[in-house]
Amino acid sequence: MLHRSRTIVMAVGVLALALVPPAAAALNQPFYVDLFRRMMIFALAALSLDLVLGYGGMVSFGHAAYLGIGAYAVGILAFYGVDNGFLQWSAAIAASAVAALVIGAISIRTSGVSFIMITLAFAQMLYYLGISLETYGGDNGMPLRTRSQFAGLIDLRNPYAFYYLVLALLVLFLVLGHRLVNARFGMVIRAAKSNEPRARAIGFSPFRYKLVAFVLAGGACGLAGALLANQTEYLTPEFMHWTRSGEIMFMVILGGMGTLFGPVVGAIVLLGLEDVLSALTEHWQIILGPFLVLVVLFAKRGLFGLLPGEVLRDG
């Protein structure tokens, strides 16, 4: 059950996102369609991380790896002439889910700093793998030949169609996430986060549930990667750099860990601030840094978490 004020903010937020394209058209600022689509793609990535981090209590510091794998799956298939989006995006999801299965199987038995370091190490490995792939542009990356084709169902070259597809996917994953974290499955991973010895003592074996959560999150982030490749029409190992993982994690923390709409808020605020501040001054990071520190200090539950509603009860 969601708290009223949170439901309202979420509904208003989604509605506002739906109104961005007409507003941008009215203001003759098509650039905003691009910006908000990018925000929503990162919101999806952050949402997937939140399942692992906020609900599962696993501090995965290499989440950008799945973003990169998803993007490269699309880019590499396109490179060989496979432009079919159904194929490309399925491959993106499958490849990142498999990577998450391997990384999770190794890392989830550990905890604390070891867990952080293992997930980070894997992501860095993939980053360097991307750099070494000369065929696909090495550290320069390569352009995406063409955006994914969906047999004429939807044309991603149309910025509005692409925008609403991303919005629809984001809403879909918010709904799926809401069901998942409140179903038996979600209760187990949240219980394990809350108190793992207790969860084991009452008869749960958390490992396999955490692993499945990790794989689901990896797959969802892979889809975000596929979207990102189409968004930028370019892919580079930078997608997998650890600073990118940090940025996604920051979106989650900024918006509110263990809430569903929090990561969306976090992605919009962080990328929005970057955009506004970088237009004002080239030293925008000097302003952004302290702001983020203040939010973490004074809004421990993140911006969305400031709204009434007990974090864990209100998945």
């Binding site: 059950m1 069901r179 998942l180 409140n182 179903a183 038996r184 499955f185 979600g186 209760m187 187990v188 949240r190 219980a191 809350s194 108190n195 010895p197 207790r198 969860a199 084991r200 003592a201 009452i202 008869g203 749960f204 074996s205 549930y209 499945v212 007990e310 974090v311 864990l312 009860r313």
Partner: protein, 251 residues
């Protein structure tokens, strides 16, 4: 006669050079309330941890209900019917009281790879959880966040979580520790009500509770059980009196 519900032979565990439990033998027949007493650091919690499956023993074996469980982990043992409370209260603090108990019910009703139906709306989890909460006297506290319960209530909640798994053996590590007189009397009454219906291994420093509840008592010192017997036998045991110098008066 059937084999005792729990049979322990030569159970040992060392931390570094310290023998926390040292070749412990213990039989607890079905239905018995068996207290384990002993001075601080005697190895009582270590023994409970080994029984619950949290601590791997260095040597020895444990049989439960005729089955060798030595190699089984805590969740597996829980599903076989072992339940425990912790010396330091261990609950899901950011869940409500009824959530805590419903989770215990859930853990014992098949796998949890269910992704769609809200668990809190499942009567099959909710109703038994509320019934157990009622039985430990927390019926009117069901929707309170566990972190906001009083200390005594949190201990009751732990018992409720254990009972919700329908255990055959209850391992209780100092259930009345840190409680006021009234709270501890309530807990003793609660445990007295369970007596006979479920087998209990009770670690406790409160001698009133021990002598009210226990059918038999084992005394642990430096990782070894130095005496086992009825409350009268233990009370009269000279070695126990020596080991318990400071606490002689209460014995």
């Amino acid at each position: 006669m059937a084999e005792p519900l729990i049979v322990i032979r030569g159970l040992s565990k060392s931390f570094g050079g310290l023998r926390a439990t040292d070749r412990v033998d213990l039989d607890v027949p079905e239905g018995e309330t068996h207290a384990v007493i002993g001075p601080n650091g005697a190895g009582k919690t270590t023994l409970i941890g080994q029984l619950a499956g949290d601590l791997r023993p260095d040597a020895g074996m444990t049989r439960f209900a005729g089955q060798d469980v030595t190699a089984l982990d805590a969740p597996t043992r829980s599903r076989l019917g072992l339940a425990r409370s912790f010396q330091i209260t261990s609950i899901f603090r950011d869940f409500t009281a009824v959530d805590n108990v419903a989770l215990a019910v859930q853990a014992h009703s098949g796998h949890s790879f269910r992704f769609w139906r809200p668990a809190r709306a499942e009567r099959a989890l909710r109703d038994p959880a509320l019934a157990v909460l009622d039985s430990v006297g927390l019926g009117d506290r069901a929707d309170v966040l566990a972190a906001n319960l009083a200390h005594g209530e949190q201990r009751q909640l732990e018992i409720a979580m254990a009972l919700a798994t329908r255990p055959r053996l209850l391992l209780l590590d100092e259930p009345v520790a840190g409680m006021g007189l009234e709270e501890s009397q309530r807990m003793v009454r609660l445990l007295g009500g369970l007596k006979g219906r479920v087998t209990i291994v009770l670690v406790e420093h409160d001698m009133d509770a021990v002598f009210t509840l226990a059918d038999r008592i084992s005394v642990m010192v430096y990782g070894r059980i130095i005496a086992t017997g009825t409350p009268e036998e233990v009370r009269g045991n000279a070695e126990v009196r020596r080991a318990y110098l400071g606490e002689e008066a209460t014995l």
